[in-house]
C-alpha cells in the first residue's frame, strides 16, 4: 500500500548512499559470520529494515556475542550509529572498546561533535560525551563547543544541561554571566539563558538583599524589549522569593509599568503578589479582576482562585 511505498522511498533515501561499501565486501571482516536478528516465532509488527541497517546490526550482534573489542568492532559501532544514533547498546559497547584499546578520547569527542550536528537532541550522544569527559577529567573546549551548539538552537535542553554539568564539575563559573548576557542580547526570550544565570548565581553568590537587588535590576533592564516575555518577570519573582517588603523598588517599577505597558499582564501579576503580602487586599483583588477579565483572560480561573483566597484570608483576619 501507500505506507509501504513511502517507507521504501525513505529507506532508499537514508541508506543507499553510493559510496557505502557493504561490510561483507570489506576484507577486514572476511572471517566474521554476521548474526541475524531473532524476532522469535511470532514477530509482532516486524520492522522492514533496509539491507544496510540489517547488515551492520548483524555484525554488531556477532561482536557483542564474541565480545570482540577491536578496531573493526569499533568501526561497526560507528556504522550502527550512522543508521540509528539512538542505539544505546552500540554507544556503550563503543565506550568499552575505546577504553580497552586506549583510544584517543579527544578524537572521539571530535567525532561526537560531528554527529551532534545531525543529532543535536539525542540523549545517548550527550551522555556519551559526558562519560568521555568524566574519564578524561578534561573539560577543555567544552564551553566553546556548547556555545557553538547553542548557535544552532539556543534553547537545546541537552546542551544547556551539559554546559551546566561542565561548569559545576570543573568550577568554571567566571565567564558564564557574560555568556548569558550575550545570548540575552541576541534573544531576550531565551528562558534557558535566564535559568542558567540563576544556576550560576546560586552557586557563586550569597542570597543577600544586595546581590538579589542587582539581579532584579538586571532583569528589569530586559523588560522593555519584550514586555510580554515571562522570563525576566519569573526571574524577579525567584530572586524576591516572596520577601517583597525587602525590595520596595519592585513595587515602584511595576506601578510605573502598569501605565507604560497597559496591556502587559506581568507587572499586574507581580503587584497582586506584592499587595497580598503587604495586606493591601482590595488593591490585590481589583488587579485579579483586571487580569482575569482582561489582561490574562485565558487564566481567568487562576485569577479567580487568587482573588477568592485573598478575600478569604482578609476575612479571617478581621
Amino acid at each position: 500500500g501507500i505506507n509501504a511505498e513511502y517507507g521504501n522511498l525513505l529507506k532508499r533515501k537514508l541508506h543507499m548512499g553510493g559510496d557505502w561499501i557493504p561490510i561483507s565486501k570489506r576484507p577486514e571482516f572476511a572471517d566474521v559470520e554476521p548474526l541475524p536478528q531473532d524476532d522469535g516465532p511470532n514477530p509482532v509488527c516486524p520492522i522492514a529494515y533496509s539491507a544496510r541497517f540489517s547488515e551492520v546490526m548483524d555484525y554488531l550482534r556477532r561482536f557483542l556475542q564474541t565480545n570482540e573489542k577491536s578496531e573493526r568492532a569499533l568501526t561497526i559501532t560507528r556504522e550502527v550509529l550512522e543508521v540509528n544514533a539512538a542505539n544505546y547498546t552500540a554507544w556503550y559497547f563503543r565506550r568499552l572498546i575505546l577504553y580497552a584499546l586506549n583510544k584517543d578520547l579527544k578524537e572521539e569527542l571530535n567525532m561526537v561533535g560531528e554527529m551532534a550536528a545531525e543529532n543535536p537532541k539525542n540523549y545517548q550522544l550527550w551522555y556519551h560525551r559526558k562519560a568521555l569527559i568524566e574519564r578524561t577529567k578534561d573539560p577543555t573546549g567544552e564551553l566553546d563547543f556548547t556555545a557553538e551548539q547553542l548557535k544552532e538552537d539556543s534553547k537545546n535542553y541537552h546542551v544547556w544541561a551539559h554546559r551546566q554539568w561542565i561548569v559545576e564539575t570543573f568550577k568554571l563559573f567566571e565567564r558564564e554571566n557574560e555568556f548569558v548576557d550575550k545570548l540575552l542580547h541576541e534573544d531576550v526570550r531565551n528562558n534557558s539563558a535566564w535559568n542558567h544565570r540563576f544556576f550560576v548565581f546560586q552557586r557563586t553568590q550569597e542570597f543577600t538583599v544586595e546581590n538579589r537587588s542587582n539581579e532584579i535590576e538586571y532583569a528589569f533592564s530586559f523588560v522593555k524589549k519584550a514586555p510580554n516575555n515571562p522570563s525576566p518577570w519569573n526571574y524577579i519573582r525567584g530572586m524576591v522569593n516572596d520577601e517583597w517588603e525587602k525590595f520596595p523598588q519592585v513595587k515602584d517599577k511595576c506601578l510605573g509599568f502598569i501605565s507604560t505597558l497597559p496591556s502587559c499582564p506581568h507587572p499586574a501579576s507581580i503587584l497582586v503578589d506584592i499587595y497580598e503580602k503587604l495586606g493591601e487586599n482590595e488593591k490585590a483583588t481589583q488587579l485579579c479582576s483586571k487580569l482575569g477579565d482582561n489582561l490574562d483572560n485565558i487564566r481567568r480561573k487562576y485569577w479567580q482562585y487568587r482573588s477568592d483566597l485573598i478575600t478569604q484570608k482578609s476575612k479571617t483576619h478581621q
Binding site: Y88, Y92, R95, Y123, A131, R203, N234, R237, N241, K301
Partner: protein
C-alpha cells in the same frame, strides 16, 4: 487503544509474547529482542502487561531487582547500568515499583529528596538539580511525588501557576516559556495540574480545540500541532490529555500512572482525585 475502548482490535497474546521475549536475565526490558535493558522500555513493558493483566507471565522478582538496583546514594535513579541520571528515571522506577506493589525495595525518602532537589525557583522541575524547568520533567517529578504520597510537600499554587502559564493564546500548551505549543504537553502539563488538583486553571475549551485541530482528518492520527504529520507519540498524548479533561467516549486515565482507571482498579491502586 485502551482509552478509546479499542483494545480488542489488537492481538493480545502476540503482544504479550513479544514483550515477554524482551525481558533480559537481569530482569529489565530492552526496546526489542536482544537489546539491553533500560528503564525506558521497562516502563512500557510494565504498563502494557498491567493493561493486559499479564504480569504473571514475566519474572517479577528479577524485574524488581533490576529497577531497585538502579537507585543511587543520593536517591536518584540511573536509566541503566551505564549511569545516566535523570528525573525521568525517578518517575519510571517509582511508578513501576508501585504498580508491582514493591516500593519497599527502594529508599522512598531519598528518592523524594532527590526529586525535590530538582525543583527550581519557579516551582517547576528539570532533569537534574539546576536544569531548566521543563513540563516533561515536571510531570515526572510531580507524578513521582504523587505516587509516593508526598505531593503535599509542593507549593501547589506556585507550581500550578507555572503550569497554567504554559497555555498560549492559540489554546495549546508549551513546555517552557516562549516555546511553541505542542500536543504532547496536553499530557505533561495537564496531568501535573491534575495531580495538584488545579486542572481547572487551564482554559479547557481552547485546549481541546487545539488538540482536535491537530488531528489529521485523513489518517486519523494526531500531530504535534495543527497541519503537521501525525505520529503515535502525539496521538497517545492527545488522547490521554482529552481523557484527563473528561472528554466523552474516552475511558478515564490516571494522571500519575498514565494508565486507565480500570487498570488501576484491577491492581487495587487508588487513582488521583481531581476536579475536571
Amino acid at each position: 487503544m485502551e482509552l478509546m475502548n479499542g483494545l480488542d482490535e489488537m492481538d493480545k497474546q502476540k503482544v504479550i509474547e513479544w514483550i515477554v521475549s524482551c525481558q533480559l536475565p537481569s530482569g529489565g526490558f530492552g526496546g526489542n529482542i536482544g537489546h539491553d535493558a533500560h528503564l525506558l522500555y521497562t516502563m512500557s513493558a510494565v504498563q502494557v502487561l498491567c493493561m493486559y493483566d499479564a504480569m504473571d507471565r514475566i519474572n517479577k522478582e528479577n524485574l524488581v531487582t533490576f529497577i531497585s538496583s538502579l537507585q543511587k546514594e543520593d536517591g536518584s535513579f540511573a536509566g541503566d547500568e551505564w549511569g545516566e541520571i535523570d528525573t525521568r528515571f525517578s518517575y519510571i522506577a517509582i511508578s513501576c515499583l508501585s504498580l508491582l506493589g514493591r516500593l519497599d525495595t527502594i529508599n522512598t525518602d531519598k528518592a523524594a529528596e532527590f526529586v525535590l532537589s530538582c525543583k527550581n525557583f519557579d516551582g517547576a522541575f528539570g532533569c537534574v538539580p539546576g536544569a531548566e524547568s521543563h513540563a516533561g520533567q515536571t510531570f515526572c517529578c510531580v507524578g513521582a511525588l504523587t505516587i509516593l504520597g508526598k505531593v503535599d510537600l509542593l507549593d501547589k499554587d506556585l507550581l500550578g501557576w507555572w503550569l497554567c502559564e504554559r497555555q498560549v493564546p492559540s489554546g495549546g500548551l508549551n513546555g517552557r516559556p516562549e516555546k511553541l505549543p505542542d500536543v504532547c504537553y496536553s499530557w505533561w502539563v495537564v496531568s501535573s495540574l491534575a495531580c495538584i488538583d488545579r486542572l481547572i486553571w487551564i482554559d479547557r475549551e481552547k485546549l481541546i480545540n487545539f488538540i482536535l485541530e491537530s488531528q489529521d482528518p485523513e489518517g486519523g492520527g494526531i500531530a504535534d500541532r495543527p497541519d503537521d504529520l501525525p505520529d503515535v507519540f502525539h496521538t497517545f498524548f492527545g488522547v490521554a490529555g482529552l481523557s484527563l479533561m473528561g472528554m466523552e467516549g474516552l475511558s478515564p486515565v490516571d494522571p500519575a500512572y498514565a494508565v486507565s482507571i480500570n487498570t488501576l482498579n484491577k491492581l487495587g491502586i487508588k487513582p488521583v482525585q481531581y476536579r475536571k
